[in-house]
Symmetry: C2
Subunit: 425 residues, 2 copies
């Protein structure tokens, strides 16, 4: 054991162990770790399988892609990898910000007509990683707001950075975080007139877990709110490819957003790159600190210091994704998952349950009024051998809900549908 290791500079921590992580360790109730780890769910699954060794468990839990990467995209990566063994094809360090052709393709394909410049696009190894880098940029002295429920990485990274304050067991909330409740009563959009001003607003649309894509009017309100408060929106558009209706696919569709918003996005859920790891972040030139200094310059320093670029093989795949054929191929996979989502929506509807999401997102958010989400989880697992995600893992506003994912094979989804129908006949 280390002898001293005391942090004399702060009376708050009498040993080196970061307070942030202590928080996480203590946190036996909340399942903030839901997105990447599903620790508690895995434990429950393991327990279940040990008890029923012959159970054929179906997972509608973690939002992990299952369908093969379209051939032309996988081939681009395969060819690139092979070329690395040749003198002509070998490449060492690339630009930390991503290769120029890919940055250009992202700007032109994902932000067509939105005036996003190549130089405003920073290629990354995925949006979860970029969220942490944004947190590192912001430091521990900022205040944040999150949708409730929301993807847990915003809060998890905030806790690690020391922004969150104490966890309050009564409310299931961290003291310093502003939870913006988003549920059916407010059309999944926060009541901004009752929302505290914070430095940063994390906003995910289409939302994970609710599947709600914010409307243009809602996003206009959000941008206006950020402007009035001098806040930065960190807009997570990882599921934008799933938008079916006229909801904006990017925050930059909203006039004025370039002055207040960073956008974080990903190839994970559109191209099936969850394991390949590729994403990006846009920091517009007009986004300035209050002294007029561009936020993008600082983000560039973070990227150059704390990151050394995404794998060049993954970037070759990203470039293939954004070719006209690649885009078509990606969307055919997205359509497959959306058909899965429709099957799940129909299933729950036939059971008389109220659902949300599933149209603009690969997640269906199912309401069980008056029930605890862990109880619902346990009941479904016990009776159908299906893993879901209890809504409370996404924040206290997720109570009474479960999230089911459409990222499955069709047969699995159909089998799940059959089992669910038998559960609630």
């Amino acid at each position: 054991m280390l002898k001293v290791l005391s942090c004399s500079s702060t009376p708050l921590s009498y040993f080196l162990q970061p307070k942030a992580c202590l928080e996480l360790q203590r946190d036996g109730i909340q399942m903030h770790a839901v997105a990447g780890r599903y620790t508690k769910i895995s434990a429950r699954e393991l327990e279940h399988v040990n008890k029923y060794p012959n159970a054929e468990v179906i997972s509608l839990g973690i939002g992990d892609t299952t369908q093969p990467i379209p051939d032309l995209i996988a081939s681009a990566m395969s060819d690139y990898a092979r070329s690395l063994s040749t003198p002509e094809g070998y490449k060492g360090y690339g630009d930390e910000q991503g290769n120029k052709a890919l940055r250009k393709a992202i700007a032109q394909t994902c932000y067509r007509d939105l005036a996003v410049k190549d130089t405003e696009v920073f290629v990354s190894d995925g949006s979860q990683c970029d969220i942490s880098r944004v947190q590192m940029l912001l430091g521990s002295n900022v205040t944040i707001a999150v949708q409730d429920p929301s993807f847990p990485a915003y809060i998890d990274s905030s806790v690690i950075m020391g922004q969150a304050g104490d966890f309050q067991y009564n409310s299931g909330k961290y003291r310093n975080i502003e939870y913006m409740k988003c549920g059916p009563p407010n059309h999944f959009f926060p009541d901004l007139s009752n929302t505290l001003r914070t430095d940063i607003i994390f906003f995910c649309s289409p939302n994970n877990p609710t599947g709600h894509a914010a409307s243009r009017e809602q996003l206009e309100q959000l941008v206006e709110f950020a402007k009035q408060n001098g806040s930065i929106i960190v807009y997570d558009s990882a599921y934008a490819a799933y938008i079916t209706d006229e909801s904006p696919r990017s925050i930059y569709e909203i006039p004025g957003a370039r002055e207040v918003a960073i956008e974080v996005s990903s190839f994970s859920k559109s191209a099936g790159f969850t394991g390949v790891r590729l994403g990006w972040t846009v920091v517009p030139e007009e986004l300035l600190y209050s002294n007029g200094f561009p936020v993008g310059h600082d983000f560039n320093r973070i990227i150059c210091t704390c990151f050394n670029g995404a794998s060049n093989i993954a970037q070759a795949g990203g470039l293939a994704c954004l070719s006209p054929e690649g885009v078509r191929a990606m969307f055919s996979v997205v359509d497959y998952y959306k058909e899965n989502a429709q099957i799940l929506l129909d299933t729950f509807a036939s059971l008389g349950l109220k659902t949300h999401g599933g149209v603009n997102a690969p997640y269906v958010w199912v309401h069980f009024p008056g029930e605890r989400s862990w109880d619902v989880f346990n009941e479904i697992l016990g009776k159908t051998n299906i893993i879901t995600v209890p809504g409370s893992g996404f924040g206290p506003g997720g109570e009474e809900f479960i999230r089911v994912t459409a990222f499955g094979n069709r047969e699995t989804i159909l089998e799940a549908s059959t089992r669910l129908k038998s559960l609630f006949p």
Copy 2:
């Protein structure tokens, strides 16, 4: 421009812009960004090329690999990428800590007989990225020590985390960082009797830029020093594959190191993965905070929250690297670079210049007593069209030195040798 965005919780920063990055912006003299960015060097190169458009510039600057990846390793990645387009071969999210087979291979191949467990190995996208994650784990309230000179990422990330304190122009040092001078007079090992106690000691061996591999006796002193002070050593062994003599290849060769040291390492310089991005960090179970809590548990939380695993394609390459044939293939490339280093050593020796490194590292550290390293850089560039790295970019202790890299094609190295000999006939 954002209207308010003030950080009311701290009087030090009257707007949101992180102090850390302000520091970096102000930092016009020091070239801390040397390793990944080489901004100032690039600017000088550009200026030179604009002035002499016909100059055939040779770079012995950035430590970037140039030789193709051995075929069996590139093929493993290529095959893996192609298999992602098949139902059988497709993989989504992997374990954030890395795939089990690779963790096992690293433990067994890179730490043979050193009792490193698979579960203590965290696979990453490179050691520079892991250094930042270690910094995120530690937070802003720790004190750090670095070798002077050293790889700039330790200080850069420390500045961003807010550990460094003010930059002092007189000394070229950050106020709160302990600079452990390592030069020829002390055999490139700090005088520990005059070293302040810090929470963290960054130690790179073989060192970038000096090329010095610490001896067993030196590392025994370092481990003992850390034990006595309750400090954690963050040991960077990214260049371990270059060790020719009996110097330890891992800090864990030193008894007691498991209680005080994290080891950060990489496939970049051994397998030519600078662009592919793959590395790892070892956090031994015996490494505990002063309250007995394992540091590895917290690091695991950082990995799961701020990282989503290295690209699975890169991991397939890492696994191929560690097969018996892969190891042989890697070392044949390492040997090639070491032959380059010998050519450079001989070149400078023939000019009567004192050199260090080059035997256990791909870098040669050349001494120009009494001269400023930027003057030497400018003179060499002006007269031979060769880019080097001024030693002062690695800290004030690098003054009077330049670093040259052996990561080149043989013809380039030979041409550089010819030009250098003509410069100092």
